[in-house]
């Protein structure tokens, strides 16, 4: 009884303390905002977000959503920049993860040359500042690509030069959605088929061959639907102009350089994280797996990695966060990310440093928190259930 009241009281005290802390932080934040407003008006500097709907007036080289210098607002420019940041962050994370896992595992390889190469990669990349690497890649990308007039024609109508890679852009006619529906249906059926065959394999030991039926479901059916719908897909093929390539889907060299630099750099750190994670799994596990007759690839995939993931994921998360934050180095090579567009052009044109910087910081905070949250959810799925 006494114990109960004690712990209730302690819990109550904890809650009160937490409320007090939140209130204090809120009060500080409010005070800072109020004070800033006062100081700004005293210095005759405009304040507030009144600029948000004003016409931006500047051009942006890569826009994932419709944007025009003459009609779009500063607010629209903000979203353009944010999407560009998310795009390069997502692409960077995917490639950094793949490369990082490959290098990390290669470093533990029994093959002397492979292990040394992986080790050399990690040491070289980790010890050169990212900014230099970025400039290196940008210049390497730009210099190695042909000038406009020596443009390389790639198969399928794609064009490559130092203005970017121009791919044929798919243009979907209205009834293309029917094909998509059939494709999704086919994929669902194929998954069902796989689950069923596994289930049968476990129950009866019989092997059902599902490759051809799956292929028919995923590729064959949609193709038939595509023909039936009257081939509703066309390509906007890029054309050479006097100064530039027009039409098509454009991938800027700035984007390629930034994604490359971020992936290569972060992969070196991820490789170390992966190596540490794999080494943390006791060697007995590998021996046991091999004693059961698993091949080394299977041992890695089925026994070692799942356990290593528990060690790998937390530091991996912070590498992802680093990558996203490092993407703001985009400014030096002219890739229009959030910092370049919003904390750059918009800040300069409006002069509203306080609002713009505060919002930019809030966005990076939100992206980071979201990434951590996702990774924490993922940790739960890889956690080995305690028995």
């Amino acid at each position: 009884m006494l114990q109960r009241t004690l712990s209730t009281r302690r819990r109550l005290g904890g809650v009160v303390l937490q409320i007090a802390i939140v209130a204090a932080i809120g009060g500080l934040g409010y005070g800072a905002a109020y004070n800033a407003g006062l100081n700004l008006s005293r210095a005759h500097i405009a304040s507030g977000f009144g600029f948000w709907n004003n016409t931006a007036g500047f051009d942006i080289s890569q826009t994932l959503i419709a944007y025009s210098a003459s009609t779009s607002s500063f607010g629209r420019a903000f979203w353009v920049g944010l999407l560009n940041t998310l795009l390069v962050g997502a692409v960077g994370i995917v490639f950094a993860t793949i490369l990082g896992f490959v290098v990390g595992i290669a470093r533990l390889s029994n093959n002397w040359l492979v292990a040394r190469l992986a080790g050399g990669y990690v040491e070289l990349v980790r010890n050169v500042p990212l900014l230099l690497q970025l400039l290196f890649w940008y210049n390497a990308v730009l210099k190695s690509l042909p000038l406009l007039h020596g443009s390389m024609a790639l198969p399928g109508g794609a064009i490559l030069n130092n203005r970017g890679l121009f791919l044929p852009r798919p243009v979907f006619a209205a009834n293309f959605s029917a094909v998509v529906v059939v494709l999704v249906g086919g994929i669902i059926c194929a998954i069902g088929l796989t689950v069923w065959s596994r289930w049968r394999h476990q129950r009866t030991g019989a092997n059902v061959h599902i490759f051809w039926p799956s292929l028919a479901l995923i590729v064959g059916l949609p193709l038939i639907a595509y023909a039936a719908a009257g081939f509703p897909l066309h390509f906007n093929v890029p054309q050479m102009g006097r100064f530039n390539v027009s039409g098509g889907l454009e991938i800027l060299p700035e984007f390629v350089a930034l994604a490359l630099a971020l992936s290569v750099y972060t992969a070196a750190f991820i490789a170390e994280v992966v190596r540490a994670g794999v080494l943390a799994v006791s060697h007995g596990q590998t021996e046991a797996a091999q004693a059961l007759g698993l091949r080394s690839g299977q041992t890695l995939r089925l026994v070692v990695l799942p356990q290593a993931m528990r060690v790998i994921v937390p530091p991996l998360t912070s590498q992802y966060l680093n990558l996203i934050k490092n993407s703001s180095l985009a400014v030096v090579i002219g890739y229009p990310d959030l910092v370049q567009v919003f904390a750059g052009s918009v800040l300069n044109i409006t002069g509203q440093a306080v609002e713009v910087i505060a919002l930019t910081m809030a966005v990076y905070l939100a992206i980071s928190l979201f990434t951590s949250l996702t990774m924490n959810l993922y940790i739960r799925t890889v956690a080995i259930p305690e028995r």
């Binding site: 004070n35 100081n39 210095a43 051009d59 080289s61 100064f243 002219g334 750059g344 300069n348 044109i349």
Partner: protein, 340 residues
């Protein structure tokens, strides 16, 4: 990155400080007490503001700060120059890091009203131009539809570029960089067909290219770029000092007073000359300076024309002609109100 740091510092100062940069003391008092002027300058623009390999700053905009220092301290060396990119410059001034910004900065209405800053006087009448490779065989900016154009961010150039292409119904592919150097490098590497900025800047930057003769400046001037030194809003005495520093340099040129003859001119009978040089009247003291303030400027730095020719005119590699910047008596726009 520096720019971000400055912006963050300003944000912090505004949020946490009890008083913004326009402190209790006047800028003049602060400068005198410190013993030197802190001047925001370009840092990479030949002819206007750039340190030489020994670290001595030279240039047209630099000389303007030296003139202010000469007026206050009778010593043009008492200036500390802070190199600023187009993006850093206003924040540096707002936060009080510099006393005056003398860095090819265009006077616009929005900058004048919403930044808490004031523009003192138009020291250079400029306009925006384009540079292209000769090999492109383009003779007018109107042929640039679809071209990639490298431009520096946070400049009026960025905005004029979009305006010009829109009003001439041309399609634009601009590539924007944080500094002029990066934009120029990208242009040189072939990333862009054209590079655009103030034509004053084009003169200097063309000479930095590996082979300047391969590049030409197109004839079109697409904007008005009145370049002016900038100060914080609200310190009128300081604004007056900066503004009149420019005016007396113009007046001196008009009166034929220069570095070489200024001592002799002290004995002149011409009333305008006598007022300007402080032989007669208390004009300097009215500004909070000494009465020989203008004499000091001419003695150490020279008149407007001398500074122009030495840094960007015929005495320099840039060879810019006076054009709009000739005296009003010679068909230009430079006009100094009278000292009286």
């Amino acid at each position: 990155m520096r720019r971000l740091a400055t912006a963050v510092a300003l944000a912090m100062a505004l949020a946490l400080g009890t008083q913004a940069a326009a402190a209790t003391d006047t800028t003049l008092a602060a400068v005198k007490q410190r013993g030197e002027l802190i001047c925001g300058a370009n840092g990479t623009l030949a002819g206007f503001g750039m340190p030489d390999p020994q670290g001595n700053w030279t240039g047209f905009d630099v000389d303007f700060c030296r003139a202010i220092a000469a007026a206050i301290f009778n010593d043009p060396q008492k200036v500390k120059f802070v190199p600023l990119t187009a993006k850093d410059r206003f924040t540096a001034l707002q936060s009080g890091e510099i006393d005056v910004l003398s860095r090819n900065t265009t006077w616009t209405l929005s900058r004048d009203t919403s930044l808490g800053l004031d523009f003192a006087a138009i020291t250079y009448f400029d306009g925006q131009g384009f540079m292209v490779r000769k090999a492109l065989k383009v003779s007018s900016a109107l042929e640039l539809s679809d071209a990639s154009v490298c431009v520096q961010q946070g400049t009026t150039s960025e905005l004029n570029l979009a305006d010009y292409f829109r009003s001439n119904r041309m399609s634009l592919k601009s590539v924007t960089f944080a500094t002029g150097e990066e934009a120029l490098k990208a242009y040189e590497s072939g990333r862009c067909d054209a590079y655009t900025t103030d034509s004053s800047g084009l003169y200097g930057e063309r000479l930095e290219l590996t082979d300047p003769s391969q590049h030409i400046v197109l004839p079109e001037i697409i904007s008005k770029e009145p370049l002016s030194p900038v100060v914080r809003h609200g310190d009128n005495q300081w604004t007056d000092i900066v503004r009149w520093t420019h005016f007396v340099m113009i007046d001196a040129e008009e009166l034929g007073i220069n570095k070489g003859n200024v001592d002799a001119k002290l004995k002149s009978n011409d009333p305008e000359t006598r007022r300007l040089l402080g032989v007669e009247g208390q004009y300097g003291e009215a500004l909070g300076l000494t009465n020989d303030w203008a004499y000091r400027i001419i003695k150490h730095v020279g008149n407007y024309g001398e500074s122009f020719e030495r840094n960007i005119g015929q005495g320099s590699p840039l060879k810019i002609v006076r054009g709009l910047n000739a005296l009003w008596t010679k068909g230009g726009l430079q006009y100094g109100p009278p000292v009286r």
